[in-house]
Each structure stands twice: as C-alpha cells, then as structure tokens.
C-alpha cells in the first residue's frame, strides 16, 4: 500500500512539475516584457495608453492596424539593399534554401504537435472503454503513436536549429528586425520548447509506471498539459507569420509601439491558428496512417497485419474527421484576408496565384477520391458487405462527375487553333462548369457521396433489426436522393438569378451536405442499435490497394500542406513584412507555378524519405531491443533569440 501511495505522490509531483514547466515561461515572460517594452503592461489586453505627462518627451506612433497610439520603442524596419550586408548568399537562391528549411521544420513540427493530440484522444478512449481487451488495445495504440513521434521530435528540434541558422546567415537584416520586435516572444518560445520536451519525456517514460487507476488519470492529464504547451508553442510561431502577413503593433515605419499583445494578435492570427491546428491534425493522422500502411505492407504475420490494419483505420478516420471542417476554417481565413486587404484576397483567388488554386481543387478531389476508395476497400474485410459492393460503380460515377466539374478550369489552356475552332475563350458547355455555381455543386456532391460511403461502411457487416427498419431505409434513401437533387438544383438555379443572390446559394448547399452528415449518421446509429452481426470485421483482410490509397492520401496531404503554405507565404509578394518591410533581394518576384510545384514535390519527397527512414529505424530497434530507447535530449537547439 505504501508503495502505491509513494507512486501516487511521485506522479502528482511529476504533474506539478509539468504545470511548473508550463507556467515558467509565463513567469519569465513578465520580466522579459517589463525589461523589453519599457512601459508594456504585463496584462496584454490593456492598451498602451496613459503617460500623458511624458508626452512632450517621448515620440508617439500610430498602430498600423489597431490605430491606437503608442510610444515608439523600437527602431524602424530596416530599408535593405541588395548586397552582402543585408542579403549574404551562397551561389544559390537564398529564398529556396530558406523555403526548404522552413518547410521541413514545419512538416516535422506539425507532425509532432498532432500526434500527442491523437494520443490524448486514444488514451482517453482506452480509459473510458469498458471492454478490457479493447482498452488495452487502445492504450497500446496510443503508446505506439507517441513512440513514432519521439524520434521525429528530436529531428524537429534539429531542423528548427537549421532553420534559425539559415535565417541568420541568409537574411540577417530581416531576421534582426523580426527578432527585435518579437524578442520577448522568442524567449518564451524557447522556454516553452524546453517545457514541451520535458513533458513529452516524462509522459513517454511514465507510461508503464502509471498504468492503473488513479495514476492513469494523472497520466492522461499529463497528455492534456503536453497538448496545451504544444498548441501554445504553435500559436506563438503563428504570430510571426501572422505579423509578416498582416502586421500590427508597429507604426507605419515598422517601429515597435510597446504593446506586444498587438504584435501577436494580428488580423490573421486566430484564423491561422484554427486552420493550422486542424491542418496539423489531418496531416498527423495521414502520417500515422502511412506508418501503419508501411507496417502492414511489411508485416510477416497475420496478427501484425490485423493490428496495423486497425491502426491505419483509426488514424485515417481521425485524419478525415479533421479534414472535413478544414475547408470551413480555410473559408474563414480567406474571409479575414479579404477583410484585411482586399488586394491580397484578389491576388490569391483571381490574380497571380489563381492557378495554384486549380491545383488545390485537384488535390481536394484526390483526397476525397482516396478516402472513398479506402472505405470501399474496407468493405472487403467484412462479411455481408457484398450487398453494397455491387453498387459501388454508381458511386464512382457520381463521384467522378462531381470531380470533373470541380476541376474544370475557368480559363482553359488551349492552342490558338483550338481557340479558333471553339470560336471564343468560353466553351458553351464546359464554360458553365468553370463558374462558382457549378463547382459548389460538384464539391458538395463529392462530400455527400463520401458520407454515403461512410454509412455503407458502418452498416457493412450489420443488419438493422429495429421494427421500423424498412421505413428507416426508405427515409434514408429519400433523404440522400433529395439531398443530391437539392444540391444539383441549387447549382443549376444559380445560372438563372443575379449574381448578388447567387453567392448566397452556397450556404444552403453546404447545409444540405452537413444535414446528410449529421442526421444520416445519427439515424444510422439508431438503426444499428442491436443490429444483427453478419460476421466480425476481419482485421488484416483488407486489400493491399487500400494501403496504397492511404499512402496516396498521406502524400496528398503533405503536398497540399506545402502548396497552401507556399500560397500563403507568396501572397505577400515583395514584402518581408507586408507594407512595412520591403524585400529588396534579387528574389523578390513570385515563382512560376511549375517551379513551385517542383519545389513542393522535392520537399514532400525529402520529408517522406527521411520519415520512412525513421520508421525503418524504429522497426530495427524494435527487433533488437524490446523497449525503444532513444534518448537524445533536444531542446537546446532552437533558442533563437540569445544572440540578439
């Protein structure tokens, strides 16, 4: 008993230590703020006002975004000139090097941030599941997840260090300016990173020691803390890119006005945070699913195959669950971009970067196609799913029709001869697919079909036994049928009404899709209560092709992340910090679509090669030593601000 108590006390202390880790940066930040900002208030929400007496002495500036007045307490943004002083370089395009370093850091970073969130969810599921065997399985899965992320974690730190050195050596003037403004934030960031490392290692190594009862709950709350730290870390990093896109807290010459909260909380910060959290989750799910696919493909025994099939399924489901709200977060971000600077929005959607959005549309289509394909393949591991498999071809047809409309470009690429033959830039048939009205219809058809596939999957091996099952089936059929009718009708209707009414039609369309998602999954759940099992799900009996669908999905996620990141970053055009600090290097122009695509492919492949290597190392280690021991303590590397 005493030993048990000792364990308890020890674990509570560990938890306290973690909370301490979490609070340490905040505590230190108060000092940093006080010394850094002069009169910057510790509570960030308080505006920098007052000090009326000193008005005559100090210079005041007007915030470019918040329009408040503040005391100038920083140097103006440097006006750079092309030369070795501001832009030292190797015999290569500095921007591309930075792009590479940034992207790799981001890939690893988002992976390591996403995986603990999954761990938290799965561990929680394990704790609350009544079925003992299942609970153990979940617990093991969560442990597997964190194991994967551990090696990646040290790589993240190393890549972060490389990124900082790249910045320092290639863009000293710009980085100097940024770090002068974010000085306190960068310190907090570094400390938070230490906190994150500490928490992660305690969490990981405490797993076996804190397995039962009360200790398990402590362990679970550790994962919550871990995620809080991780999310804060990401939000701090987001504040830098938010500042670069939509600066605030500085005056028109880029002089810091003493209010660090304004600098962090820029116009695009929150939309970026939400978008990135969701994006990271989808991405993390994709990577874990790919890991499971790799283990599945290289598995030697049936048990192994079954386990990794199941793991891939869970990871995939999590990824897709976060994929679905992602477009809405993107929509919010886009709307905020428009609200911040309309010009920026137009450059994105209609101007220079519009072709990238064509690629993005294709990518979204690919994601949904592979998701559907995986679900159909997954029907194969169930008894009794044959009844649905016959109808898959019609789903394919509907899905592909939606996809074709979705990717039909508005401006078609054609030779002058074809242009002549067509008699104009607009094609009378396909031209109509190129407009928003049709595309909204297309994507909603795709998502609705995905929902339908999912419902089929849920019922794959089950036969509803509720007394109203016949009505339920018919109602479900009618609901889906009329949902399609409604979506297509709204898409067609859009052509007959004026533009200002047309733009509103997408809302009921989306609502129709969401109705299908929520009501029909719920209805399905009710119908399957006490359903007759046609047979168990035979984990591991899934086809090899499905695993390639997962890999496809993971690659597509990675690629899309690179693409959207590129879009987000290049929309600043020739500004380091939008409208504050100009990019005067020889690389201030925007690359072509092809170059960007090559670069993204290169980044994606580099990431996957390295992470496959990490996976492979993992299997090697598992063979020789039963417990995975890899303990290099990172964390000292990304401490960017010390030099400044």
């Amino acid at each position: 008993m005493g030993r048990q108590n000792g364990k308890k006390i020890w674990s509570i202390m560990a938890l306290c230590a973690m909370i301490g880790f979490l609070l340490l940066p905040v505590a230190t930040s108060l000092n940093a703020l006080a010394s850094g900002g002069g009169e910057a208030p510790p509570a960030p929400a308080v505006k920098a006002e007052g000090e009326k007496k000193d008005e005559a002495k100090v210079e005041k500036g007007r915030d470019v975004y918040y329009k408040t007045e503040g005391i100038v307490s920083g140097a103006p943004a440097p006006k750079t000139v092309d030369g070795p002083r501001d832009y030292p370089r190797y015999n290569f395009e500095s921007r591309v090097l930075l792009w590479f370093a940034n992207q790799q850091h981001l890939y690893y970073g988002s992976f390591v941030l996403a995986v603990p969130i999954f761990c938290m969810i799965i561990e929680f599921m394990g704790v609350v599941t009544k079925d003992k065997a299942m609970a153990k399985k979940y617990d093991q899965l969560a442990y597997d997840f964190i194991k994967i992320s551990l090696t990646a974690y040290s790589l993240t730190a190393i890549l972060g260090g490389i990124l900082i050195f790249t910045f320092l050596t290639l863009y000293p003037a710009f980085f100097g300016y940024l770090s002068s403004i974010f000085r306190p934030v960068m310190h907090i960031y570094a400390l938070m990173f230490v906190a994150e490392s500490g928490t992660l290692y305690i969490y990981y190594y405490g797993w076996d020691k804190m397995k039962e009862g009360f200790l398990k709950w402590i362990h679970l709350s550790m994962s919550v803390i871990l995620n809080v730290i991780g999310t804060l870390l990401m939000m701090l990093a987001n504040s830098w890119i938010g500042f670069m896109m939509s600066p605030a807290g500085v005056d028109e010459q880029g002089r810091f006005l003493g209010n660090i909260w304004h600098v962090i909380h820029t116009a695009l910060w929150n939309p970026l945070n939400v978008h990135r959290i969701l994006g990271n989750m989808a991405f993390g799910g994709g990577v874990v699913a790919a890991y499971a696919a790799y283990r599945f493909l290289s598995a030697k025994t049936d048990e192994e195959r079954a386990h990794y099939d199941w793991m891939g399924y869970i990871a995939m489901a999590l990824a897709v669950a976060f994929l679905i709200p992602l477009p809405f977060a993107g929509y919010w971000l886009m709307r905020e971009v428009y609200a911040y600077r309309q010009q920026m929005g137009i450059t994105l959607m209609g101007g220079l970067l519009a072709w990238l959005f064509i690629i993005q549309a294709t990518m979204i289509g690919i994601l949904f196609l592979s998701t559907n394909y995986y679900l159909w393949q997954a029907l194969g591991r169930m008894r009794g799913a044959e009844k649905y498999q016959r109808y898959i071809k019609y789903l394919v047809f509907v899905l592909v029709c939606g996809f074709l409309i979705f990717i039909t470009p508005h401006t078609m690429v054609m030779t002058p001869a074809e242009l002549k033959a067509m008699g104009g830039q607009q094609h009378p048939v396909l031209g109509n697919y190129g407009v928003m009205s049709a595309k909204n219809g297309g994507i909603n058809v795709i998502i609705t079909t995905t929902v339908l596939s999912f419902i089929w999957y849920m019922r794959g091996n089950k036969e509803p036994m509720v007394p109203w099952k016949n009505f339920g089936n018919i109602f479900m059929g009618a609901f889906f049928g009329f949902a399609y009718v409604n979506i297509i009708w709204l898409a067609v209707y859009g052509y007959y009404i004026p533009a200002n009414v047309r733009v509103g039609l997408s809302v009921p369309q989306v609502a129709t899709t969401l109705s299908c998602l929520f009501f029909m999954t719920a209805l399905n759940g009710f119908m399957l209560k006490g359903a007759k099992q046609m047979g168990p799900i035979e984990w591991g009996k899934i086809s090899v092709r499905s695993q390639y669908a997962i890999i496809m999905l993971a690659t597509a996620f990675t690629w899309m992340m690179g693409l959207m990141g590129y879009i987000r970053s290049s929309v600043r055009l020739f500004w380091h910090v939008n409208e504050i600090m100009r990019d005067n290097s020889p690389w201030a122009y925007t690359h072509t679509v092809g170059f960007a695509a090559n670069m993204i492919s290169f980044n994606v492949l580099f990431f996957w090669i390295s992470i496959l290597f990490v996976f492979w190392l993992g299997t090697l280690g598992a063979k020789k030593v039963p417990v995975n021991v890899k303990a290099h303590v990172p964390g000292r590397v990304p401490e960017p601000a010390h030099g400044h």
């Binding site: 196609l369 559907n372 394909y373 159909w376 393949q377 029907l379 194969g380 044959e386 498999q389 898959i392 071809k393 019609y394 394919v396 047809f397 899905l399 592909v400 029709c401 996809f403 074709l404 990717i407 039909t408 470009p409 401006t411 078609m412 690429v413 054609m414 030779t415 002058p416 001869a417 074809e418 242009l419 002549k420 033959a421 067509m422 008699g423 104009g424 830039q425 607009q426 094609h427 009378p428 048939v429 396909l430 031209g431 109509n432 697919y433 049709a438 297509i488 067609v492 052509y495 007959y496 009404i497 004026p498 533009a499 200002n500 086809s543 092709r545």
Partner: protein, 350 residues
C-alpha cells in the same frame, strides 16, 4: 429487377445507336441536339443514360450467357468516354481539358474495377495471362508488347522533341490572354478624365432627350446573367427622338468605322475579320459586352489594343485607339448602339 434491366438495355442500345448514327452521319446530326443553355446538365444526363444503358446491356448479355469480361468492360468504357468527349460535344473541347477528363476517367475505371477483390482478379487475369505467356497466343502477344511498347515510347519521345519540319503544321505556343483585363481607375480622353466607376453614358436619354438612367433601367426585361433589354422602336425612324436618335447616330458611326472588322451583325465576323488572329470580339456573345460595364467599353474603344494593360499581354489586338478619330460623344454613341443592337444591357456596378 429483370424488367428494369431490360429497359436499361433497350435504352443503352438505342442511345448508342443514335450516338453512332449521329456521329457517322447516318441520321441527321441534330437528331438529339444540345439545347442552348441546358448543355451542361444535358451532358451529365446523357452520360447517366449511357451508364444506365450499359449496366442493363451487360446484365442482359450476362443472362444470355454472353459475358463481356471485366477487362474489356473497363477498356470499353474508357474508350467510350474519350470517344464521346471527342465527337459528341461541339465546339470541340481543347486537348488540355480532354486530357484531364481522360485521366480522371481512367482513375474512375480503375476504382470501379478494383472495388472488390473478385472483380479485380477478373480484371487483371488477361493482363497476367499475357505476362505469364501461358498459351502460344499469349506468348506471341507478350513478345509483341515487349517490342512494341519501347518502340512506341521512343516514337512518342522523338515526336515530341523533334522540331516540326518545314511545311508541317507547326503548333503555335499556347497563350493565355486575359481577354478582359482589369481596367484602370480612370482614363483620360481628349483631355478629359473619365473615372470608370462613376462615368455614365450621357446618351442614355429619355424621349425628351434628357439624361435619364431610370428610363433605360425600365427597359430591362431579364435580370439574370445576361440582362436583356426590351425590344423597342426603330431608331431609323426619322421621327425617333432621345435615346433612339442617339442609337441611330451611334449606328451611323459604327457602320462608317467599326463594321469592317466587327461585322454587320456585330458578331465579330466583318469583312477583314479573318485576317486577324484572334478574330475581333463578337458582341453578340454573352461573354463580351454583356458582361462589362459601359465605361469599360468606352475605355477599350478609346484606347484600342495599344492601351491594354500588362495583364492583356500579349497584346493580340490591332484595334486602333479610336480617340484619335472620334470625339468622346461619338464613342459614347457607338457604345450605346452596340448595346442596343445586341439587346444586352451593360453591367452595372453592383
């Protein structure tokens, strides 16, 4: 089930026959014509008919013991779609779009064929047979492919890299011209600055000859994408006053200056039109003046091809800057005439 499938089969046979008949000219090509304005939905609908038809057909053949193997079903479907896109849709779809559609169709057929394990086995059996070379025929085929595929690849690569010889049809480079580039905020014509967002055509006048936007607004009968204006009286009536008089004067200017290229019917097919590439703008097309503000037309007429901004590159327009030949009043009148004649109503700043 059987009855449903039979209907499907009949529909499929008829639809295929009609399609083939139309394409090869056995029956008039307009037997089932594409209805203007409904074509996008019609195309999807037709494709659905074909899919339903093929399903029925394959079911019937199956029950009669004449199964078409999965392999040929798949190949056949891809071929059908490519054929349909190439021959059915008019005007022809550009290759780039057909390539995209073709790729997606192939992916779709793959997804269909591999949706369950049995189908997938059936689908790849013929391929595996050839690869394994089980029978002499398969062996022969295998040898043939072994030689033909690399040869074909070589030929393809050679074709795409060798410069086309003299006299051959040299492909012009693809150009992406923005046909209606973003206009400037204001334009200066004859020393007077016109702000595009606020200027108005001074000749939208009521019968008394006074500027009256309300009067022309009342003439709009159709509010959707291409707004249409009411038919109204003949501007060539010598008694016509106000708006119609201005239209007539605009018409006179048009037929003295513009119709050589833009054509008698304003369809861009005038006397000289085919000397140009691309041919001059077709005002009757709902994608041209119907989509643009009146001031945009005013700007383009006065500044011509030379005045196009950077997005308009390459400036494949020989339209002269008409401000050198016409007064601003004349330009406004021509614009008025163009809208009157085509029946469109200029886009407004909404």
């Amino acid at each position: 089930m059987k009855a449903l499938m039979s209907v499907g089969a009949v529909v499929g046979v008829i639809a295929s026959l009609v399609l083939l008949g139309m394409i090869f000219g056995v029956i008039p090509a307009s037997t089932v014509h594409l209805v203007e304005g409904y074509m996008p939905m019609q195309m999807l609908f037709e494709l659905s008919i074909f899919v339903a038809g093929f399903t029925g057909l394959s079911y019937m053949l199956n029950s009669m013991g004449m199964t078409i193997s999965r392999f040929w079903q798949g190949i056949g479907f891809v071929a059908f779609i490519l054929f349909y896109l190439k021959s059915r849709i008019y005007p022809p779809i550009p290759f780039s779009v057909r390539a995209m559609y073709g790729t997606v169709t192939m992916v779709a057929v793959f997804m269909w064929m591999s949706s369950n394990e049995e189908d997938w086995k059936k689908f790849r059996q013929p391929i595996l047979n050839v690869m394994d070379g089980l029978t002499p025929l398969h062996k022969g085929l295998r040898t043939f492919f072994l030689i033909a595929i690399p040869l074909g690849l070589w030929g393809f690569a050679y074709q795409s890299f060798v410069p086309q010889g003299a006299g051959a049809d040299v492909d012009e480079p693809i150009e992406l011209r923005t046909v209606h580039p973003a206009p400037p905020a204001s334009t200066k014509v004859h020393g007077k600055t016109f702000v595009l967002q606020t200027s108005q055509n001074p000749y939208r006048a009521n019968p008394e000859g006074k500027y009256d936007q309300e009067y022309s607004n009342k003439l709009i009968v159709e509010q959707s994408m291409g707004r249409l204006m009411q038919e109204n009286a003949n501007p060539w009536d010598p008694k016509a006053e106000g708006y119609l008089k201005n239209v007539r004067e605009g018409g006179e200017i048009f037929f003295q200056n513009c119709h050589f290229c833009h054509g008698d019917n304003l369809n861009g097919r005038g006397l000289h039109a085919f000397a140009f590439n691309p041919i001059p703008a077709n005002f009757t097309d709902p994608g041209t003046i119907a989509q643009l503000q009146e001031t945009f037309i005013f700007w383009r007429v006065s500044k011509g091809g030379l005045g196009l901004p950077r997005e308009g590159f390459p400036w494949a327009s020989v339209m002269p800057p008409w401000e050198q030949h016409l007064t601003t009043d004349e330009i406004w009148k021509v614009v008025l005439f163009e809208y009157w004649h085509t029946g469109y109503y200029p886009r407004t700043w909404d």
